[in-house]
Symmetry: C2
Amino acid sequence: MSLPFADRLASAVRSKHSALVVGLDPQFAKLPVEIRERATAHHADQREAAAAAIKEFDAAVIEEVAPFAAAVKPQIAYYERWGPPGLAAYEHAIEKAHAAGLLVIGDIKRGDIGPTAEAYASAHLGSGTTAERDQFADAITVNPYFGTDGLQPFLNAVREKDAGLFVLVRTSNASAGELQDLQALGQPVHEHVAARVVAWGHELTGSCGYSSVGAVVGATAPRELARLRECMPRTWFLIPGVGAQGGTAADVAPAFDSDGLGALVNSSRGIIFAYGSPAASEWRRSIREAARRLRDELRTAAPQAAS
Amino acid sequence: MSLPFADRLASAVRSKHSALVVGLDPQFAKLPVEIRERATAHHADQREAAAAAIKEFDAAVIEEVAPFAAAVKPQIAYYERWGPPGLAAYEHAIEKAHAAGLLVIGDIKRGDIGPTAEAYASAHLGSGTTAERDQFADAITVNPYFGTDGLQPFLNAVREKDAGLFVLVRTSNASAGELQDLQALGQPVHEHVAARVVAWGHELTGSCGYSSVGAVVGATAPRELARLRECMPRTWFLIPGVGAQGGTAADVAPAFDSDGLGALVNSSRGIIFAYGSPAASEWRRSIREAARRLRDELRTAAPQAAS
């Protein structure tokens, strides 16, 4: 990798003409029956079986969505759930996605202080002592609660690895406002975080005009979304909450610039479980069509998107 | 397990006459040379070698500190750093600590929304589908940024598993105040979080008088510590920042009640790397003495501690 993450992302969005990110949230109980049965038949250990099923499912999802998505976002909780074999499946998903030409955003939401944050950064963005590159995410999500010195090790890794970050600013869940919307010195806490994100990312702006330090901003708060775009004009937004959580493609329109850049829109369950029943036989087609449909809706929502 | 975590903790503190928690932060480069060399000789794969060294080191640390500590607190970042073999070493540490009669606080600082938080809770506190119990922590640390619905799955797990939580309230790092000390509606953000912690933990109060929903409050902010004790009178405090980060045993005195309960004080590097140079031959003794010394200092700081 030689280009900053921000520029690799701009290039992926342009070449795919797509702002779509497909979230990999492989909840075992929702996987197609045929996959679960095969895995269970081959692995006596429950965690090994779950990990095997997830690997097969992810490989299929990645193959189906690759033409329509700029990136995938594996949510590590659904892998960590199954212990060491699950973590191996997480790495497998990253490798498969890279092989399919997709960028990978590791949704890990880690956050801690100095040396501990450094260990997380090495774990997920790679370190000097590790030769392999494909097993690491291109970018990760991080939690801002610790402030600047908690972020610094991640920022160092971004610089050294041409990687990216998406800092939680305003999340998409119903209770998000309890802490994030508290009014402090005339503005909500999440706008204070937004100002930090701009400062943290300033030095890491790519030639596309956006920084490699992005922000997570939920689609379920459209008013905050527009306002946060004003606060963070050169920040890539990663927008969850479309689909299963109730946000629509139209809700996210204010996040895009006039070239159709600046925002990624994630859908997880709405795409990977589009088939509804785990007994559905045409599950791969359902996934593919759901990805195509949301990509098209996003093209309409951001009509100027570079093509 | 049949007793609430809060009561198991009170019982451990009373029987050991110790508020000490030893943090397991096994940074590979700081481990004793003999251990690293043995692991490297036996494992060609770098991650396997690191995990093997960590397992051996943790087993030794646990054996040395068990007489003096109420609990250990493995910091998962230093395990996750080494991928799936590292995560296996994390589980190994939990099992070893349980076998030595120690409670385990998994320092994972996870935080996310609904189904994802549920996956984290299952991963780290166990789920109905997993028979083994020893591989799971008794309690975990969590991040409050998402608010109540992000906490709910963890609270459910606490109830079902008689487990515990420590919610980040005021952390010990230098930049902690950037977000946590913002003044909102007349009080700092961390006091708003403290009020939530009290509400979240109210129903989970044990017969010891404390809740199984605790709070992380850094020793490096003694003024905030005293004030937060007022805000959260029935909340177990987990206090990092003593030792390497500059806090002293005297700084944490206001956190204890007149029975010597209510607070756990963590030291990580100050104990597990007390030997200084990785070439030190008497490293086990240095660890043991450092644990004994801090336990004694904490007894003096909280002189009424039940014995």
